[in-house]
Each structure stands twice: as C-alpha cells, then as structure tokens.
C-alpha cells in the first residue's frame, strides 16, 4: 500500500472510531450505570467503571414494577404488527406490480402521502376511529395502528423490489408446475428477501419504539407497552436511575438481537445471474 492510501485509510478509520464513540458512549454509560451500586450513580466524581458489579437494579425492575408485563405487551404488539405488515405489504406490493387494475397508479403514487402528516396530527382522529371500532385500550388496536403507519412505506419499498424481479422467473415457475401462490412463495419472496427483511426491521422498530399511539390508545396499566410503561415508572417513583438504566438495557436488547439476526440477509445482490443481463 502506498503512503497516500495508508494515510487515507487511517483518516477513514479515525473518523469511524470517532463516530463509534459518539454513538456508543451513551449506550455504554447506560449499561454501566445499570450494574453500578446505587451509591455510585450520583457522585461528585463520576466513575466510569463500577467499583463492584450488581444486578440489584434489574431485580428491582422486575419485582417492584410490572415491567415483565410491559415487555410481554411490547413483544406481542411489535411481533404482530410486523407479521401483519409483512403479510399485507407483500401481497399488496405483488398485486400492484403484477396485476393491472383501475386505480393502480393512483395507489402507487399516493402511498407515501400518508407520511406528509406527523403522527401527532393523526393520533386524535385515529383515537376517535378506534373508539368507534371499539378497539381503544386493546393490544389489537395498537397492532392495527402500527400496521397502518408502517404499511405505506413497506408497500412502497417492496414494490420496487418486486419490480426488479423479472416476470419471466414467475412464469417459468408457473410453467414448471407451480400455482401462482407457490411461485410467489418459492421464487418471488426469496428474491425479494432483502426488501422483506428491511420492512420487518422497519416495522418492528416503529412498533417497539412508539410512545405516542400507545400513550393515547392504552389506558390500562397491564396493557401498556415498554416506552409508556417506563415513562410511568419514571414519573411515579422517586427517580431510581439504576432501575431506569436497567429498563433501558432491557428495552434495547430485543431490537439489537433482532437486528443482528436479520441484518446478514439484508446483503443484497445475490439475486443477480438468473436471467440474462
């Protein structure tokens, strides 16, 4: 490697390291604080590395609050919203790319209009709608609201993936003896997998992190999701920073694990080569 390239590489790695520190420090601080003894959290001279390790904060989190319930609710809501969005989004995007029907172009072009409005603007009309449907204060209502919110983007994203898959492949599958659903499941979806994964991550994170809709639509304590639940812990007790940080760690973990598991499928490009060109 010549010196110029080496210098450039050093510069790139330096910048990356800086970014990493900026992003990771708050997370590291959160993790470290959650395993510090209480007396070490608020001190005149902060310690970075805890003098002793303790899981007291975690024990308090799960015993003195109904954190486990919040956690379960969040998993249910985010999981179902993701399933629903992927299922409906895939079918809708397939329909829009493969069939001709009245209003097809209109749907395609207006899909993203929904994102012109900040969620806070639609949350009140949404509440009224949900109340009329009798879905206020239910996890199902929450699932529907997240799906509504993530579907347009998901459809839009999947549509471009489907458009890039040659029609020939599907026709080949059908002349090979596949029904249309079989062709979609065994040929089209595997090829659109990076798109499906992207949609999965997007929806899961939207649902997992949402505070606004959960706050407005859910009133019973035992139906609350993590963001709302943690906020309530924060206002209802004398602030227990160790427990707050422990909650922060636990809420981050599933999203992190999920992302690590699926991100390798995001690597696109393995679809090349099946058809000429």
């Amino acid at each position: 490697m010549n010196p110029r390239a080496a210098l450039f590489r050093l510069w790139v790695y330096g910048l990356a390291a800086l970014l990493l520190v900026i992003c990771a420090f708050p997370l590291a601080w959160m993790v470290l604080t959650s395993i510090k003894p209480d007396r070490e959290i608020l001190t005149a001279v902060p310690t970075f590395i805890p003098s002793e390790l303790t899981i007291d904060a975690y024990r308090r989190l799960f015993t003195s609050t109904i954190f486990a319930t919040y956690f379960r609710n969040s998993i249910i809501v985010a999981g179902l919203a993701t399933l629903l969005t992927v299922a409906v989004g895939t079918l809708a995007a397939y329909g829009i790319t493969r069939f001709r029907f009245r209003g097809r172009e209109l749907i395609s072009t207006t899909m993203l209009f929904t994102y012109m409005f900040a969620p806070i603007m639609i949350v009140v009309p949404f509440y009224i709608l949900m109340r009329q449907l009798g879905l206020v204060n239910s996890l199902f209502g929450l699932v529907l609201s997240y799906a509504t919110f993530s579907l347009p983007f998901s459809m839009w994203l999947l549509r471009s993936f489907f458009q890039s898959i040659p029609l020939d492949l599907e026709e080949a599958a059908m002349t090979d003896g596949a029904s249309r659903p079989q062709a979609v499941v065994r040929v089209i979806v595997p090829l659109a997998l990076p798109g499906v994964i992207a949609v999965t991550i997007f929806t899961f994170i939207v649902a997992w992190n949402d505070y606004l809709f959960a706050r407005v639509l859910i009133s019973s304590d035992n139906l609350k999701t993590l963001p709302v639940g943690i906020n309530d812990i924060y206002v209802s007790t004398v602030t227990d920073w160790g427990m707050m940080m422990a909650a922060g760690v636990v809420i981050t973990l599933p999203a992190l694990i999920f992302f690590v598991l699926v991100q390798r499928y995001l690597i696109a490009g393995w679809g090349a080569g099946g058809v000429k060109g």
């Binding site: 026709e171 080949a172 065994r186 595997p190 679809g271 058809v275 000429k276």
Partner: protein
C-alpha cells in the same frame, strides 16, 4: 406427448389484435417453428399455448381436450425462455428439480432424472453451482435441462438462442435438434431467425401481423413461397425482386424488366402466366439462382448489368448490381475480380424464379416452380 391444435385462436390487447384467429394442427412429436418479424404474434401464440396469456377467442386443444381455462401448472408443458429465467437463489440441481419437487416426486426418482438430463446436456459438473456462476451457454443448457426432467407433453421454446453468440448458437441448434430426435416430444419453437427455422423445423409456420401466412416443410416454404413476404423472409441472402411485366415474346412469354431487359419464361408456365400479362409484376430471383457469367441450361436466361460491389465469402462470392433501380445480389466466383461499373453477364435459372403480383404481393402459382425433393436443380453448364 400430445398433439396440439389451435382453432381460430385470437388474442386482443384492448383494440390491438395481436393474433387474428389462427388455425394450426401440430402432430405428436412434431417440431414446429413459429417464425416472423417482431410483433407478428408468434410469442403471444406460444404464451397462449403455455397458458401464460389468456385466449381472447377460439380454442386450444391438447389431444382432444380444450385447455383454454387450464393454468400453466395444469397443462403439463415445459417452457424455455429467452432470458433462461433460472431461479437465481437455487443451485442448478434445485433449478432442474423445482418442478419435480412441486409434484412431490420421491428423492431418488428426482435425483435419477436430474442426473440423466444433466448427463444428456453435459452439465453434470455444474449441478451444485448457482446460475450466476454459469456462462450464457451453460445457463441455456440448464434451462433446457429444467424442461427435460419434467418429461412434459410439449416443449415450448421462446427465442431460446437469441442471447448466445453466433458460434454457440449454431452449436446449440444442433444439440436441440439431436435432443428432439432422441426425446420425440412435441416442440413449438419461436424465433425471428429464419436460419433456426429452416434448420430445426419439421414444419415452419410463418406469421405476420397476427396471421399465419404459410405453413410448410422448410424446403417447401423455401422453394414455393406463397407471397413476397415469405419469399423475402426465408432464405439468406434475401431474394431479389425485379420490377417489370409479363409480355408476349415469339411463341411464348417473357419477363420484361423495367429498362428493357427481356427474360424468356419457361414454356411450361405459359398457361399459368398468360392471364398476368401487361400488369405490374415482380420477378423473384434468389441470389443462388442468379449467377455471374454466361451459362447454358433448359431455362437459363442471360442479361448484362454493371457490377457494383463484390463480397468474397470463401466458398463463393456475392456480387451486387443495380438493375431497374433495385439492388440485386448474384452468386459469383469468390475470386471474381472486376472493377465497379464493369458490365458482366448474369444468368438466371428461370425455372426457379417466382412471378409476384405487385398489387396483392401473392406469388403466381406456376404449377412447376421449385425443386422437388430428390430432384436436384438442373445444372447450368458454362458456355
């Protein structure tokens, strides 16, 4: 194995008629090539047979059963696409076995069939690869393998060789023909390449504007085209069309090319051509029946023209002339050395020329035109 019948099959896209009520009967085991320029409806016809395109009118029958409303899955056909359409996320083995796995066939049977087809196509060592690791020719073979393993009622080929380079195309042409001899399965093959049509087909179906213009064995459509379109489309280099009229000459008839050249027509055709006297006609002459030089023969006619360009092609040469305002190609000695503008004699074998009515574009039936199987063309002797 099946016979395939098209009865008044029609396809409309809105107001556009893509296929205008065609009739065609394909025998069991026959190799039929649909050929024509782009937009002639050949691919649409194939897709209707495959079930990928709904039929707007008429019937498609496999054996005695109407299959109009069957999905591709239930027609038991295999199709080879121009793009090969291999599943990129599957290995060659999985690509080839896809249809068999869908049928729920046993593992051993699947392996046996795939191995057999792979051996037949010389792709055994590629079975574990993904399509992106294959060359164009190899992908083409895999696409054929995927069709073969299914042992379908019919193979449908949609311009399968168009994406290959010339030498590979010639090689695959031979292999496809060999495969058909061996498998004896009904084939419908779509191409715009008349050489593929000539070399592969048992029967050629020439289409134009959504209609079938002519159906016949390769040499039949070559020797006895029904109209100017077929005459020009089949055969390379293309047939020459000389404008002129039929006139009385001595006791018989002659073709008078615009500009005064007079070519006596064979006496055997007098009766057939008499009614076409003094109307604007064209004489269709293939370059291989028009020779530079003066030759004798029962129906040889000679005239002179100024040479334009000579193209030596190894085994023979092509010489180009301007006659009556149109470009005319003639075969010549590849060593022919003449300057541009030199006048040379040209001899036509009039027994193999075609008379075409300019108004309708139809070839006037001569009753005698063309060479029949087993009867070589009368040799023209140098004089």
């Amino acid at each position: 194995m099946a016979t395939i019948r098209l009865e008044k099959v029609e396809k409309r896209f809105g107001d556009v008629v893509a296929v205008a009520g065609i009739d065609l009967a394909i025998a069991d085991g026959e190799f039929v090539v649909l050929v024509g320029p782009s937009g002639c409806g050949k691919s649409t016809t194939l897709r209707m047979v495959a079930g990928l395109e709904p039929v707007s009118g008429g019937k498609i029958k496999f054996d005695q059963y109407v299959v109009n409303n069957l999905t591709p899955k239930n027609r038991d056909i295999a199709m080879v696409f121009q793009s090969y359409a291999l599943y990129p996320h599957m290995t060659v083995f999985d690509n080839m076995s896809f249809g068999l796995r869908l049928k729920g066939m046993g593992r051993d049977e699947i392996r046996r069939r795939v191995q057999d087809a792979a051996a037949l196509l010389n792709i055994t060592e590629l079975l574990r690869r993904k399509p992106r690791e294959l060359s164009g020719g190899q992908r083409q073979r895999v696409a054929m393998g995927r069709a073969i393993v299914r042992q379908p009622k019919a193979f449908l080929f949609d311009e399968p060789l168009s994406n290959l380079d010339a030498s590979l195309r010639a090689q695959m042409r031979v292999e496809i023909k060999r495969l058909h001899k061996r498998l004896e399965t009904t084939v419908i093959y779509v191409t715009h390449d008349q050489i593929e049509a000539m070399t592969l087909a048992d029967r050629i179906v020439i289409m134009r504007g959504g209609q079938i213009v002519q159906v016949g064995a390769p040499m039949e459509v070559y020797e006895q085209p029904v109209d100017r379109f077929v005459a020009g489309f089949i055969g390379a280099p293309q047939m020459n069309f000389l404008p002129g009229r039929v006139v009385a000459e001595g006791n018989g008839l002659a073709f008078a090319i615009e500009g005064g050249i007079l070519l006596p027509l064979p006496a055997a055709r007098d009766a057939a051509y008499a009614a076409w006297r003094d109307r604007p006609m064209e004489l269709g002459v293939r370059p291989e029946t028009l020779h530079v030089g003066r030759f004798e023969g029962p129906d040889a006619a000679t005239f002179e023209a100024a040479i334009d360009v000579v193209e030596p092609m190894g085994n023979e040469g092509l010489a180009f002339f301007q006659v009556a305002g149109v470009e005319v190609a003639a075969t010549c000695d590849p060593y022919l050395r003449r300057d541009q503008g030199d006048r040379v004699p040209l001899t036509v074998d009039m027994a193999r020329a075609h008379l075409i009515d300019v108004e309708t574009g139809k070839v006037v039936p001569s009753g005698t035109a063309g060479r029949q199987a087993g009867h070589p063309a009368p040799a023209l002797a140098a004089s």
